[in-house]
Amino acid sequence: MKKKSKTLLSILFLFGLANLAFLSLETDPIQLNYPKSFGEPTYDFSKNPLTKQGVELGRKLFYDPILSKDSTTSCSSCHLSYTAFTHVDHALSHGIGDSIGNRNSPSLMNLAWSKSFMWDGAAHHLDVQALAPIHDSKELGEDLKNVIAKLQRHEEYPSLFETAFGVSQITGEHFLKALSQFQLTLISANSKYDQVQRDETTFSEKEEKGYVIFKQHCNSCHAEPLFTTGEFANNGLPVDTILTDWGRMNITNQSADSLKFKIPTLRNLKYSFPYMHDGRFKQLNQVIKHYTSGIVQHPTLASELQNGINLTAEEKVDLTAFLLTLTDKEFVFNKDFAFPRKKRN
């Protein structure tokens, strides 16, 4: 090689090194802790490596009403940390995309293992899910641009983006990745159920009996340890004739998916009422009553529910006792997940 280009090469080389040193100085990688039994996450962390700075930025964004047009609503308005990141009452705010207004906000946890998002799986990846709530219409028009422009003008955000992603010019990509980073840390794995699995405690007699019933009738869909398979199913709910929500079929346009909804996790059920995609049941005993005597026949109804589930009154109580062992208080009261208060030195 000619001498000239060699010199040029070494200059480029040094420049690269300097760059590297600069980048690696700034961020602190985060390692997520989760039970082995959860298996490999679906989320590809190599495309969005978690860092302390990225997660903190995502958390700030999650709680910041700057994301909504009129600066009144933040993600946390509908996903409250103290109720496992769901909305406490069903009435959802206006102005958010047409289908969101008809649906019950799901709790947010263990999202790194989810294969799709929304009750009908409308969002195929966590990174792009947030596009839905930050704009009104079904399509992304100017709204994301406006949010980014607002953030760019903000006194803190440009520098926060720079520390997290190395550039102060805010992009849609970095904004969405930051939101994902925070949400990916929302891991719930310390309920009584988990403690029993780790041999730290034992179930009561009722809970133990309920666990057996659960494994027999519910586990095929609400599979341990995430308490969902992540698939879609028709669990026999009658169609709400006003909302007429066809679930998964809205997305796939296939009649085989009619009335199928994403199987929700049962973790932290205690906080996530009202239940089902439209929040039609306020109490857990209504849910159990549905499975024992409310199943409606339909061509897509799951085969294991064709004949309903027979449970005695006592078995219903046992099953409920087990379901309540999925409550993870530590998750719900985790300060790292709550509204980010300014640190005082």
């Binding site: 090194l17 995309g97 990846h125 930050i134 399509e139």
Partner: protein, 228 residues
């Protein structure tokens, strides 16, 4: 250890800068039949008139062929061709020196595999407005405008084509016979598309599905080599 790896990667990149490559430019020109069009101007069409306001689409991988045999392919990232911006009506790419080819195949739209990666930057950043927020996925192709032929309040049409879920994948491949050259001019005859759609009744289309797939196939037929 990571640093060393990085240096090697950097070295490889720098070296490749010195290897023998030449530029190939692909230009896109939108027309209505033979009439070149600009966004915002009004043209005669079907005894009425038509104005185009948006023409945007993604192109991906470009494959080169000689005598029906694949020779090489070039792909670094998806590019958004946007006619509202004169700087975004062409792509310039590096191809190996003295590449002998007589046909190119251009990927039109974002494939299913890319969708699975999550959010991306650059031309694929959702901020470019080529993304569906409900029923997420890229919009591969957008054509919007106005015409009295459309029977709606604003006399407007909007075709947003996309969708990556089987069986309604909409990414297309456009195969074009070309002459060896440093510049390839591709004509997009919008009339080819408009003739196949029902401007009067089907003026607004913006969701994935069987129809999107059908319209995407028609859209790919608009692309031809510009005859000078």
């Amino acid at each position: 250890m990571k640093k060393i790896l990085f240096c090697f990667a950097f070295l490889a990149v720098s070296l490749s800068l010195f290897s023998q490559k030449e530029n190939l430019e692909i230009n896109f020109q939108a027309t209505l039949e033979r009439q070149p069009i600009e966004l915002g101007s009004t043209y005669e069409y079907e005894n009425s008139e038509i104005t185009f306001e948006v023409l945007k689409f993604y192109i991906g991988k470009i494959q080169f062929f000689k005598n029906g045999e694949p020779i090489t392919e070039v792909f670094d990232s998806f590019r958004l061709i946007d006619f509202s911006d004169s700087l975004h009506r062409n792509v310039v790419m590096k191809i190996p020196n003295n590449l002998d080819f007589d046909r190119i195949k251009i990927q039109l739209g974002v494939d299913s595999l890319t969708h699975e990666t999550g959010v991306m930057g650059g031309d694929l950043d959702p901020i470019n407005g080529m993304y569906w927020a409900w029923n997420t996925g890229y919009i591969n192709f957008k054509l919007e405008g106005k015409s009295p032929l459309c029977e709606n309040r604003h006399g407007s049409f909007q075709y947003h084509l996309g969708g990556y879920l089987p069986p309604f994948q909409t990414a297309q491949t456009v195969s074009l016979e070309v002459e060896q050259s440093e510049v390839i001019n591709i004509q997009i005859n919008l009339a080819t598309f408009l003739k196949e759609v029902d401007l009067k009744n089907e003026h607004t289309f913006m969701s994935p599905g069987a129809k999107a797939k059908e319209l995407s196939k028609i859209a790919s037929k608009m692309f031809t080599i510009k005859s000078l």
